[in-house]
Symmetry: C2
């Protein structure tokens, strides 16, 4: 599927980050959403896209607790409205995802098409439509080609499987302009019990210029009540998908769904540890989305400390990852600390430069209100690392947060400025 | 000075916009800040930059009412802090502007350098330092070279003149990466009195990658109390400099200063008409800054109507002009209405797509919640106009606002990604 891969240093970073998830009873296992017990998945080509797979199914053998996090953009795609309503009941048993068409800004017809997609999937796998979440990603403003959707759903249902290959096929079928599928699974065995958690995500890509969307599905065979799952998901998303930026534009389709089916066995694992596993998987998937951000040649990790609270720290970190000028400097490997400080000031959080300090890598560039003497060659070298680690201490409290962003490259512009055909 | 000019269609737009300011008693007159009676100006090269002029002076023959609008970024340059304090007294008689170095993020030394710049200018023109506003624009985080500032101030003071040439010299001396000076003046003669108002501005440029700043100075020989001037300026800035975006980054140095010296004569003009003149000049200067935005190949004018209020409409309009994806589509001349709707949703204002309508030029692309049938060739043709007029009706109230933005081009990236030397 993938015609390109991330630059080698970016790939190495992702691999390191995956290995860093191990420990505390967790270890990496093959597969994604199918790694936990009792989940099947598949991908198929129905014809929404010209050639690549475009329909994915994830099905649990038994009803599962479900939780979701959805875009905050008031311009919302029809499947988001539908699935948020279903998830609010706390139960789902399957998810169908179509790629290549977001079914967004498509009016009443789009609402009916979203429901029809759910009905088609429910029939194909023998479930009630109320148990099937629906997601879509791709072109905005074009009606969903329902014949292609029906064909893809039928094919995918016939191919549902449990192995790592099936999980990967589903991850490939949700890609749009992603260069590679993003999938990861962890197993926990320890005093808190035994379970697996796996997930898949797609990135923000816009080769076809009206595509937009981040989608992720995470599964676990741990037993967790819907309320507990909801809280765990909200917390994990705040530190993962809500902490990344590729181009500062919020999609109308962003959705993260979590399913917990309890198939790991009769003795439930500690909810705290399950939440930890969920956070690890989502954290990595979010970083993988940044690493595969359109045209990205490198990644920044922005660590803000000393803020009045976590929310303030997160706002400042995201403002830096969103700044066009910081992204352009990142592309040019320019240790341009002035732009970073100025971008921090756009977050709507009080920033007192007299108390602030800023480092890139280990090189201190600004300290307590004034430029810090530093070796320019060392600062440039810090910009060649992946990720480029930007540490901003606001000196105004105990709040801390981390955000990740990609750079703004010529390739990004080429991908997004070309007239769509 | 200028090594480049705006693309011809962009220049034509600016000329049309200038001519459109005439009427209602107003007509264009030559010159900028020196067009009103009792104002002198000059530009000189002191050595902050290698070759181009870098110190500008604007001096009123008599004390003038003064008002200012300053950056809301809490990361603020030293001259902003100083001048905002001076302007709060309501009186200034001169402004000194240095370009090539923003004196921002420079700590206590920067504060002292800003005061020293004011003292040097005050001595050179025979005024109290409290009567001299100080602005700076350019590199962030580098101490101001005070010997060069002193030389430039001395030379500029010796050259102070009243003609259009003097006004133009000042406008050239505040440029950083601007392609051309931005200067305009209007004369009013009518039942409401007689006066002139003139101004100059510089654009957001970053060829040397830590430059940032928009500055504008507007002068009038009308008599206006400081409070009245302040209100008129606030209103004009909200509809001009607060309604433009080149790259979404807010400079630590943004300053707009207005001086009203009453030299037009003993019978004061109607404050309402003076405020109108001020708004016309600032409105045009702001559009000129967008037209000369770094790398800009075209301009969008975003007209939002049907919002719950003017502030909401302005937020939506600015969110569209800020969107990286909309800017990339503008660069590619792609009538990508989906991106525009989605960007509108990021403004933090409720957007109900079922009531919204969107046009580019005269081509309706989205209507009451669904895509509108349209001729694709007509939509493309609308993208080739300058400006590209985007009209978004939210269908939710009577609030309306306009914002202007430039496109995101390869040239922008080249200018801002190159490692600074």
């Amino acid at each position: 599927m993938a015609t390109e891969t991330a630059p080698a240093p970016v790939q190495r970073w992702l691999e390191q980050e995956a290995r860093a998830l191990e420990g505390g009873g967790f270890r990496l296992v093959p597969g994604g959403v199918t790694a936990p017990a009792g989940f099947r998945a598949a991908g198929a080509h129905g014809g929404i896209k010209a050639r690549r797979p475009d329909v994915a199914l994830v099905v649990s053998d038994r009803p599962a607790a479900a939780a979701g996090a959805f875009t905050r953009n008031p311009v919302r795609a029809a499947p988001v409205e539908l699935t948020q309503g279903l998830v609010s009941q706390g139960r789902l048993q399957a998810v169908v995802i179509t790629s290549g068409n977001a079914n967004a800004c498509t009016g009443p017809r789009g609402e009916e098409d979203a429901r029809a997609t759910g009905r088609l999937a429910a029939e194909a796998v023998g479930l009630d439509p109320a148990a099937v979440g629906v997601c879509a990603t791709g072109v905005i403003g074009v009606p969903l080609p329902m014949a292609a959707v029906a064909r893809g759903v039928r094919l995918a249902a016939a191919r549902l499987g449990r192995g790592a290959e099936a999980g990967r096929a589903a991850a490939e079928a949700i890609m749009t302009t992603d260069a590679y599928p993003k999938t990861l699974a962890l197993e926990y065995r320890g005093p808190a019990g035994a379970f697996r958690v796996g997930g898949m995500a797609k990135g923000a890509g816009m080769i076809h210029p009206r595509l937009a969307t981040t989608l992720a599905v995470v599964t676990t065979d741990a037993r967790l009540e819907p309320d507990r799952l909801r809280r765990a998901l909200a917390r994990a998303v705040a530190r993962s998908f809500s902490a990344i930026s590729v181009d500062g534009d919020t999609s109308p389709s962003d959705s993260v769904l979590a399913l917990a089916n309890g198939a790991a066995g009769p003795s439930p694992a500690s909810p705290r540890v399950v939440a930890d596993g969920l956070a690890r998987v989502l954290g990595w998937l979010a970083r993988a989305v940044v690493a595969d951000g359109e045209g990205a040649s490198t990644v920044m990790e922005v660590r803000v400390t000393g803020a009045p609270g976590r929310a303030a720290a997160a706002r400042v970190a995201r403002a830096i990852t969103r700044s066009v000028l910081v992204k352009a400097a990142l592309f040019g490997r320019d240790p341009n600390w002035g732009r970073i400080l100025v971008a921090a000031g756009t977050a709507g959080v009080p920033v007192d430069t007299r108390r602030a300090g800023l480092r890139i890598g280990h090189v201190r560039l600004f300290d307590a209100g004034a430029p810090a003497d530093h070796d320019e060659a060392e600062a440039r070298a810090a910009m060649d690392q992946v990720p480029v680690v930007i540490s901003l201490d606001l000196g105004s409290g105990g709040g801390a947060a981390v955000a990740w962003g990609s750079d703004l490259t010529r390739r990004y512009l080429e991908l997004n400025a070309a007239y769509r055909t």
